[in-house]
């Protein structure tokens, strides 16, 4: 059973990798294939970060148009395509969140963040179950506060200064909490790489 689903995931990933390579070679039809395979996951990420459907759809559009313009940036030898795309989407959404604030605050995140109360769609491509388990294991090794701050930086795009303000602690304190956490996290993740 596990093998069957792993195979399916591997096949999906390889198909995606091929489509990414075709796109880099200038085959714009490959974009539709990539969109079909990844939109559900990437839209989920954009929505999680931006907290607003309209903003998230604009971000999603931006992600794929940029992908098409600069598909050559993806190195098929290095990263899994879905993990590269998810990182790309996350970063674009966070950039959008920040530039939006310059204009006078398009989306106050705290207000506009009702998480969709739904299970991940069955056909959603996952980055990697094993890696996912490992980062969770390592994060769980940190104290809960630090875990939450790190996740908040990742998902809400908060900087050190913003996290400090929210937790109502001096900036230096927040930095030392998170840096201590990152130090431990790195040791834990590197240890897992040696084992595998």
């Amino acid at each position: 059973m596990a093998d069957a689903s792993t195979d399916a995931a591997t096949i999906a990933r390889e198909k995606l990798r091929t489509a990414m390579v075709r796109l880099a070679d200038g085959d714009s039809a490959a974009l539709e294939e990539i969109y079909a395979a990844t939109r559900v996951k990437l839209f989920g990420i954009c929505f999680r970060i931006l907290g607003d459907r309209k903003e998230a759809e604009d971000a999603l559009q931006d992600v794929y148009v940029n992908l098409w313009q600069r598909a050559d940036r993806y190195d098929p030898a290095r990263a899994s395509p879905i993990s590269w795309l998810a990182t790309f989407a996350r970063n674009r959404a966070v950039d959008r969140l920040r530039t939006g604030k310059v204009r006078g605050g398009a989306v106050p995140v705290e207000e506009a963040n009702p998480l969709p109360d739904q299970a991940p769609l069955a056909d959603m491509l996952l980055v990697d179950a094993e890696q996912s388990a490992q980062i969770h294991t390592c994060l769980t090794g940190l104290d809960e506060k630090t875990q939450n701050h790190i996740k908040s930086a990742f998902f809400d795009g908060y900087t050190y200064a913003e996290l400090a303000e929210q937790a109502d602690v001096p900036l230096g304190t927040m930095k030392s909490w998170i840096r201590r956490g990152l130090q431990k996290l790195r040791a834990c993740l590197e240890a897992s790489e040696v084992r595998s």
């Binding site: 969109y35 990420i45 999603l60 990182t87 969709p116 980062i135 990742f154």
Partner: protein, 258 residues
Amino acid sequence: MSQDPTNSPQDDGANINRDDPMIAAEYSLGLLEGEELMAARGKLATDPDFAWRKEWWDDWFVPLTDEVAGMEPSREVWTRIAAQVNGDAASGGADVIDLQSRLKRWQWTAAITSAAAALLLAVLVISPGEVSPVPTDPDGPVLAAADPLVAQVPIGDTGLRLDVTYMPDSEQMLIGAIGLTADGVHDHELWLVPADGSALQSLGVVTPGEVIATELSEDITGNMGDGVTLVLTREPIGGKPDGEDAGPVVAEGAFSQV
């Protein structure tokens, strides 16, 4: 674990070694602002080990997205993407307006990636009234992508100025603030004013007395172009606080092509 020096009750972080791998993590998560951010961007552009480590963190953090529920975007999103990619002028009024508002950006995209030349032609057809520095011959996108853009931003009547140079080839920008000194109370933050009227984009806090090289994100390079305006605002130390309006504009300038 019991010997972990980080368990000290002192919480000033002084015992933590902020080495490059840690800075890479901070950059990957987006924790940095102001000069620290600029410094990390510079390192990313110039130090392969740092770039490798940043990707290492990216790859470890990204599985966190597996716990985010997937969502189905509305159908129009693909329509809009396809319209942009195909330069499909006939796909409806909203798309045309959208494309027009992005004209400037497209011109530059086209100049940078010659593969987009055909698309550029389609965009120009939609809005023939727009002034374009780009020839419309799809076989000859001759605007040299390599020509740097320069801007001088004079500071009041002090005779001092910022010198900003952007090199499209490497997507790097140099900001020279020679002769300026910090007043210890304020920082100055440089902003790009996108030609399409969208939100200002921060180019970072200016470092007085130095020339700093940074690599720009795609979001920003897409808006770079001849005539694009830069403004300098006065901000609290560290740059514009998030959630607040930017400070007063104290200087401005515009890019021109060398």
